[in-house]
């Protein structure tokens, strides 16, 4: 279990991000205060962000020993959220390739089983109903161009 406080961890991450932002925004012209360039706002906002991140880091270090420092991973229940997130990313990858109907059917079966495992036919029927109804509403009625994939209707 990691023994760094969540503020220290997030502060260090934001600090690294601010450096990255400053480097990327310096790639376009920053300009001067009299004539600000394209990179002016993101660069100086990045600098301010970095300074604030540093304050967060310092505050978390000063608090060391005074407050009990919560572990980063200990207070986070990853399992269900991780399954859902993984399936959403997989859906995004597969959507264009296999199409809306198949990808959504698979996703719905998975999501309906995350909290409680229903009877197999209930899971399949609910998923089929959801896919059909959303297809009718969004594709047929609202005209959203959902990917067809390998099914051509």
């Amino acid at each position: 279990m990691l023994r760094i406080s969540s503020d220290l961890a997030s502060g260090l991450f934001w600090l690294a991000l601010s450096v990255f932002i400053c480097i990327k925004s310096a790639e376009v012209e920053i300009g001067s205060i009299r004539s600000p360039g394209s990179g002016f706002l993101p660069f100086w906002a990045g600098v301010l962000f970095g300074m604030l991140a540093m304050v967060l880091v310092l505050k978390s270090l000063i608090k060391k020993g005074i407050n009990e420092r919560p572990p980063i991973i200990g207070n986070v229940k990853w399992n269900r959220a991780l399954v859902v997130l993984g399936s959403l990313y997989a859906y995004a990858i597969l959507l264009q390739k296999i199409g809306y109907l198949l990808a959504t059917f698979g996703l719905m079966i998975l999501l309906f089983c995350v909290l409680e495992r229903p009877k197999w036919w209930v899971g399949i029927a609910s998923s089929l109903l959801t896919v059909s109804l959303t297809y009718l509403i969004f594709y047929k009625w609202l005209g959203v161009q959902l990917p067809k994939g390998i099914l051509t209707f």
């Binding site: 967060l56 859902v84 859906y91 959504t104």
Partner: protein, 500 residues
């Protein structure tokens, strides 16, 4: 006389069958969203925003506005019957509403919430009509430095109102501004932080970010704990409050309406704050403050009126200055921009159909909600029984379809999921998403007004102190930041948030 002509013109638009239908759909969806815990108006509007791209701008705004004020009506139902606020602005209604329900007075509580909301909605709309046109004329005198200062003040107030650390709130605001600068620079045309991706040339779209931060992340948090809620087994009778209830409630309704409207106009204000301030005010003014928290009808009437009239007030800065006072208004601004419109001082003159049409539809929508809501209470109670294991896959699917529908692009879907993960981590690390999204929406106007001000002043920041509006706004913003670091004020803010 001109205002009467405008009102009748507005009703001629609002009463068109298509607009009536979309108003009805918006109100119904809004009530549903308000009833269902775990998804608020911000998540719902961002989910449905892409569906409005094919509509006329008037119909789109009518429906989205309907969702907003409809959710205020719906939120009270769950607060009173289940002690779970459907959305944040109804948190305070739980205190006395649920107590009334426990005492067998769920009917009058639901009734006064609905009637109070209707009266407040009507008064709020009158205020919107009376204030918007003169304010738009005044807004013509607002220059770049004033815009920058007002935006800064709005962001400061949002940050001040956030839970927990002010430092983290400021960080989220700055991050929102940085995110908004991704894409082609609107002044000089250079690409910034696009990583050579064509999808980023126009920057991030507000919809997938809002859906991720407020839709997906909420789901991820909710599935960690399987929450079950028990609905109070009580007979819902006497939905029309009696004379003594009215006598107690009429003052709070009128005061709540006025207070809500004013707080709705202020940047960073809105229904949540309005409901809390109204509750505090009623308790302070009451001759029997000890009744509050034990089923006082004033504790339901005031906050419910305040949160409803705040929704009308929030339209004033959007339509006159183009500045969204809260997150929902930021999304409506996004919807107007998608339809090729930029709200500001000229908006009411250039698009009277939208302004007066939306205004009249809001009145019609309030009437619909009053007629529909009370008889439909048993139905909403049934809706509450839908288990979350069925609800959350549907919420996620609507988010996925909504994100894809913006540009028919998988990129937006990935952005939404990633911001869902980001929002989830934000909650774990005690960061707030609200300042980020508001700063993200205000970012482009903020950048333009800052750069133009600096060019005009040849690099002198004193320009912000040379004009009365900008000087006032900057000084007030600085005072708020300074006050928030003072222990006494900070403690008050934390107490308020703990109540929420």
């Amino acid at each position: 006389m001109e205002i009467l002509q405008n009102i009748s013109y507005g009703f001629s638009i609002g009463l068109q069958p298509t607009h009536l239908l979309f108003c009805f759909i918006g109100c119904l969806l809004g009530t549903l969203i308000g009833v269902l815990p775990g998804i608020g108006p911000v998540g719902a509007i961002s989910m449905l925003l892409p569906a409005t791209f094919h509509m006329s701008p008037t119909a789109a705004i009518i429906m989205l506005a309907g969702i907003y004020y409809g959710s205020m009506y719906g939120g009270s139902t769950t607060s009173i019957l289940v002690n779970i606020p459907g959305e944040a602005a109804s948190v305070v209604t739980c205190l006395d509403g649920y107590e009334m329900a426990k005492q067998g007075r769920a009917g009058p509580a639901l009734g006064i919430a609905a009637f109070g909301s209707f009266v407040a909605g009507t008064l709020g709309l009158i205020g919107l009509m009376l204030f918007s046109v003169p304010l738009a004329a005044l807004a013509l005198k607002v220059g770049y430095p004033d815009y920058f200062a007002i935006l800064l003040l709005g962001m400061t107030m949002i940050i001040y109102m956030t839970q927990g650390s002010i430092l983290k709130g400021i960080m989220m605001g700055v991050l929102g501004v940085i995110l908004s600068s991704v894409g082609i620079d609107p002044v000089l045309g250079f690409a910034r932080m696009t990583f050579n991706r064509v999808e980023l040339a126009d920057g991030f779209s507000v919809v997938p970010i809002a859906m991720g931060l407020f839709g997906v992340s909420e789901v991820l948090l909710n599935i960690e704990t399987s929450f079950r809620h028990e609905i109070l087994k009580t007979n819902i009778k006497d939905l029309f409050p009696g004379r003594s209830d009215w006598n107690r409630a009429k003052g709070p309704i009128l005061r709540g309406s006025l207070l809500g409207f004013v707080l709705g106009i202020l940047p960073g204000g809105g229904p949540v704050i309005a409901s809390f301030v109204s509750y505090g005010m009623e308790k302070r003014f009451s001759k029997e403050p000890e009744r509050f928290g034990k089923g006082a009808i004033e504790g339901v009437a005031g906050p419910e009126a305040a949160n409803n009239s705040a929704t009308s007030g929030a339209f004033v800065p959007l339509f006159t200055l183009g500045i969204p006072a809260n997150l929902v208004m930021a999304l409506l601004l996004g919807a107007l921009v998608v339809h090729g419109m930029r709200p500001g001082p000229f908006f009411i003159n250039e698009h009277p159909d939208i302004f007066w049409g939306v205004l009249s539809s809001m009145y019609l929508g309030n009437l619909m909600l009053l007629i529909l809501n009370l008889p439909l209470v048993p139905l909403w109670v049934q809706v509450l029984k839908i288990p979350y294991r069925i609800l959350f896959p549907l919420i996620l699917l609507f988010c996925l379809i909504g994100a894809y529908a913006i540009n028919n692009s998988i990129f937006d879907v990935v952005v939404m999921i990633t911001f869902g993960l980001t929002g989830y981590l934000f909650k774990k690390f005690n960061f707030e998403g609200a300042p980020l999204i508001l700063a993200f929406v205000l970012g482009p106007i903020l950048e333009l007004s800052l750069r133009q001000s600096l060019i005009i002043s040849k690099g002198s920041f004193l320009i912000f102190f040379k004009r009365p509006i900008s000087a006032f706004a900057v000084i007030l913003a600085c005072a708020i930041i300074a006050a928030s670091f003072l222990p006494r004020f900070r403690k008050q803010g934390q107490n308020r948030q703990e109540m929420a």
